[in-house]
Amino acid sequence: MSNATQFYVTTLLIYGAVSIIACWGLDLQFGDTGILNFAFIMFQAAGAYTAAVLTLGPSTQSNPLSNYQHYVFGASVPYPVSVFAAALVGALLSYPIGVVALRRLRSDYQAVAMLVVSLIATTVVISDTGLLDGERGLFLIPKPLRDSADTLLGYQWLYVGISCVFLAVVLWVIARISRAPLGRSLRAIRESESAAAALGKNVLSLRMGAFVVGNMIAAISGALLVQYIGSWSPNGWLYPETFVYLGAIIIGGAANKLGVLIGALLLPVGISEGVRYLPSFGGPGFVDAVQFMLIGVLIIAFMWFRPRGLVPERRRTFGNPRWSFRRRTPGAGVATAMPSADEQGLAG
């Protein structure tokens, strides 16, 4: 491969990894637990801003990076710490929002509450320019571990490696949750809140748990992305971006890790890259608009023709041999989904 191709491929791989991580995080909430988190992109942004502020250095006169932009609480922490801090901020932010949005409201009211939170966050960040540099956003964010690679291309491959490490860790976490009794409880809540509550599950705290973990994963994806692209501004996390991730999950197949992976590669990455190869036509913004329209059409088409996605959620049954091969823990493969759930698709 020529250098240019390698550069392109590595960039795509990094974008793909970020998108898959984010979609897995959202799927833990949407697919497994049935939370319609319209504020998801805000948690990704929270992670990104945290990682940016923690690597830009202190916001004092002597720091050349902070002369052109304003931000609070600057620091330069060593590499993986910034990502962990991002995850922590994502988790801490989830609690107050979860208290408002996850109360026992109808799911459409919950969705509205999330949407509002996302809008408030955008308004605050744009209006209060001293906080995170307002509409302009943060830029010149240092790349982590830049010195460990000699060439720019070498660094690209290094970052692909870093992304894959995070991808593997996130997959391990969500796969564990999904396989554990916890995952079964989450799916039970998705199918019927009242039935789960009647069986003694603490619905609110379980939903909160899924909400917090999903948002931590979102924050990690944001941190990973911002340290690669080096800038972050409110235009990158307006609320329709959440719809793109949701669309990816619906197309891929909610509550199926492989399906979500395929969706994450097809929608956010595939469509924007596919459009790149089209001859340019229309006025400014036309191609972007068509891209979003296409996402809308795909969402509705899949909801109608294939509501369970390209790779539907696997039916977990007791007698599935693939399960009994791997682990013989009692209860690991007990049927979870209630029969009606398969017929209903996403409903509930």
Binding site: R104, S127, A289, G296
Partner: protein, 295 residues
């Protein structure tokens, strides 16, 4: 003191626009129980139809009528071709929100693809300002106020004086019971969509008339303000929505006296969060008793 009177004027105008939209939103939400995320997009597309009419040299008032008609038909078609088939195939609340989200993406970006990202203005009469009780209104503002009052009165008469209004209130309170009592619910739902679309179209035009220049994204965040007014008043309750519009109109405009005016809409969002926390049934208790918003 000098700022208070003009602020009351601004508040009344904001409240009028918001009331038109919120009543339209709440009528449809109440009767069908679908959270229509594409409502603001119906407003935008209708307002651009009015712009197209207006740019042909026809008065903006005619344009507003055309926009109302367009909004009504668009909403009806959305119900017939999109929501109704989905409901019949067994999609429930959760899935319908996602469908409406996809629809919002399609309409918003469809309009964007046609109009481009630029800013537009209506060719509207500028002319005189009038003094009403010490508050200065422009001709356009007075007209908006008048349209809102007439529309609210019409909705009031429809809901209280006609059989259709009675049927709509019945569907809103308990759709299954209404069907059992012989109300043709499918037709009532269609009419609710028509009415809500017409109000959305008119509200869209008034919203854009009241801004100096508008673009496709002007009404983007407005949806949440509408939802705030509707939920504050109690979903499905037209009078509640009017009250909610008044409260939010005054709260947002008066907040600009004390706060950075960039936070104007954020005040509406904060009100919505507080209402969802404390009283998701809305402020009007009698109506709220019939509705189930907490699972």
């Amino acid at each position: 003191m000098s700022l208070i009177l003009p602020t009351i004027g601004f508040s009344l105008i904001s409240a009028s626009i918001l009331a038109l939209a919120a009543v339209g939103f709440t009528l449809q939400f109440g009767v069908t129980n679908i959270l229509n995320l594409a409502f603001a997009e119906v407003m935008t597309s209708s307002a651009f139809v009015a712009y197209w009419v207006n740019s042909r040299g026809i008065s903006i008032w005619i344009g507003m009528l055309v926009a109302g008609l367009f909004g009504a038909i668009l909403s009806l078609l959305i119900n017939r071709w999109l929501y109704r088939p989905f409901i019949r195939s067994g999609t429930r609340l959760f899935g319908l929100i996602i469908v409406s989200m996809g629809l919002a993406l399609i309409i918003q970006n469809g309009v964007l693809a046609i109009t481009g990202p630029g800013f537009f203005t209506y060719d509207q009469p500028h002319g005189l300002a009038f003094d009403v009780a010490g508050i200065r209104f422009t001709y356009t503002e007075l007209a908006i106020l008048l349209i809102a009052v007439v529309a609210m009165a019409a909705v009031h008469l429809l809901l209280t004086r006609t059989r259709l209004g009675k049927a709509m209130r019945a569907c809103s309170a308990d759709s299954a019971l209404a069907r059992c009592s012989g109300v043709p619910t499918a037709r009532v739902v269609d009419i609710a969509w028509l009415l809500s679309g017409a109000l959305a179209g008119i509200a869209g035009v008034t919203l854009f008339m009241n801004t100096t220049a508008f673009s496709v994204t002007t009404s983007g965040d407005f949806l949440v303000v509408i939802i705030a007014a509707a939920i504050l008043g109690g979903v499905g309750d037209a009078y509640g929505a009017m009250l909610g519009a008044l409260i939010i109109g005054f709260a947002t405009e008066f907040s600009a006296l004390f706060l950075n005016s960039a936070y104007k809409t954020a005040i509406a969002f904060v009100i919505l969060v507080v209402v969802l926390l404390i009283r998701p049934q809305g402020v009007r208790a009698a109506f709220a008793a019939a509705r189930e918003v907490q699972t």
